[in-house]
Symmetry: C2
Subunit: 226 residues, 2 copies
């Protein structure tokens, strides 16, 4: 069955997944790009940017899988763009140019309706105004047997986690401290929500790739004695 | 010059360094022992317990260095024991039996004065009632050219971090999610306090060993553009 998966999501050692003050020039928040130092040198990222070459190895292996398996994406409004409030016009079409790297339907959560946008290469941005459950339902319908990738940003992932709707999550823990910004974990008891870390391996530039899964939603028993 | 160092300090992926509800039977809080799965199998830990054998390798290498380099320790009251409030008597002498693993003076932060306790093997518990700066001063005096190890617990380390008094910190990030408990990072902007992750390597059972240092106390410049 199609799963909802977070994948290739970068967090700092202290749990931050974006810097503060996102704007047109800082899509990841100020200094947010430091979280993606493992991703930028990969062959997959460079190909996304129309560039040749790039590193192979463990980080590239992880990066490459982030696009192949998915039949639809869900993005928060802020990950789609820096525009806030009602859409002033139809000019903004995402951060990614004419041919975004998704090549699938992409469901964008927003409070403001907008007509779908077909992009080159098969990406179609579809705007969902009736909430995260509706977006998930639509994305799963569109994805068929493939999984749905929950792309972010942080607050969108936190909304889905809080409802235990994320089936699996791959985190790339980057060897940096952020100190402030948007924290993935703060105030969310992932264990109580049924999540556990099921596997992990070191990256090349990412300090660690960690895989978190939902174990059916039951709280993992805590032992009675140490 | 003698440094104040946190070393071998275990945190979960979501930043928790102890479980909740510490008591006589749960010195690390409920389920807190999961954070130390990298440490328990090591030769160093087993020797501390009077046992033979134990694993060698990267986690053991890290564990072994946690005792050799230090000339004094600082512990919070709760790490010394489960007793709260005024000392009812002189019975409680720490969690560690007659011969604790410190073999140095150990400064215990408390609001309640108590005479020093000499233990077998060179450990002497000295109780400090006039605050963290005083404990640090006394510990550095006692340590001479060796470093001072800030043993914990979480709230004690947070107090020293907030004053930028910790020079270096080694964290063993364990591949578990805790969801709740005492969080090392929450509400502390380590970067603003001058800390950065300077190196890291994968452990065997610890997902990663990360080293954090203070760069003189100045805020690390954040870039103006991504």
């Amino acid at each position: 069955m199609s799963k909802l998966r977070v994948y290739g999501f970068s967090v700092s050692i202290d749990g931050y997944a974006a810097g503060l003050n996102q704007d047109l020039h800082h899509p990841l928040g100020v200094d947010g790009q430091e979280l993606f130092e493992w991703f930028f040198p990969t062959r997959t990222f460079r190909r996304m940017q129309g560039m040749e070459g790039g590193e192979t190895g463990v980080d590239e292996d992880v990066a490459a899988k982030g696009f192949d398996d998915f039949g639809a994406w869900i993005l928060g409004r802020n990950m789609f763009g820096p525009v806030r409030g009602p859409w002033p016009d139809d000019q903004w079409k995402g951060w990614w140019g004419d041919e975004p790297p998704y090549h699938t339907p992409v469901y964008v959560l927003t409070h403001y309706a907008r007509a779908p946008i077909k992009m080159k290469g098969g990406t179609e941005f579809r705007f969902v105004t009736d909430g995260i459950h509706s977006a998930l339902h639509q994305a799963k319908e569109a994805a068929g047997n493939r999984d749905v990738r929950l792309g972010g940003g942080v607050s969108t992932i936190r909304q889905y986690l809080r409802e235990s709707l994320v089936d699996e999550m791959h985190l790339a823990i980057s060897p940096v401290l952020f100190g402030r910004g948007e924290n993935l974990f703060e105030g969310i008891d992932l264990r109580a929500l049924g999540y556990e870390c099921t596997s992990h391996f070191p990256g090349k530039r990412a300090a660690i790739h960690a895989f978190v899964k939902r174990n059916g939603g039951a709280r993992i028993p805590r032992s009675a004695t140490p």
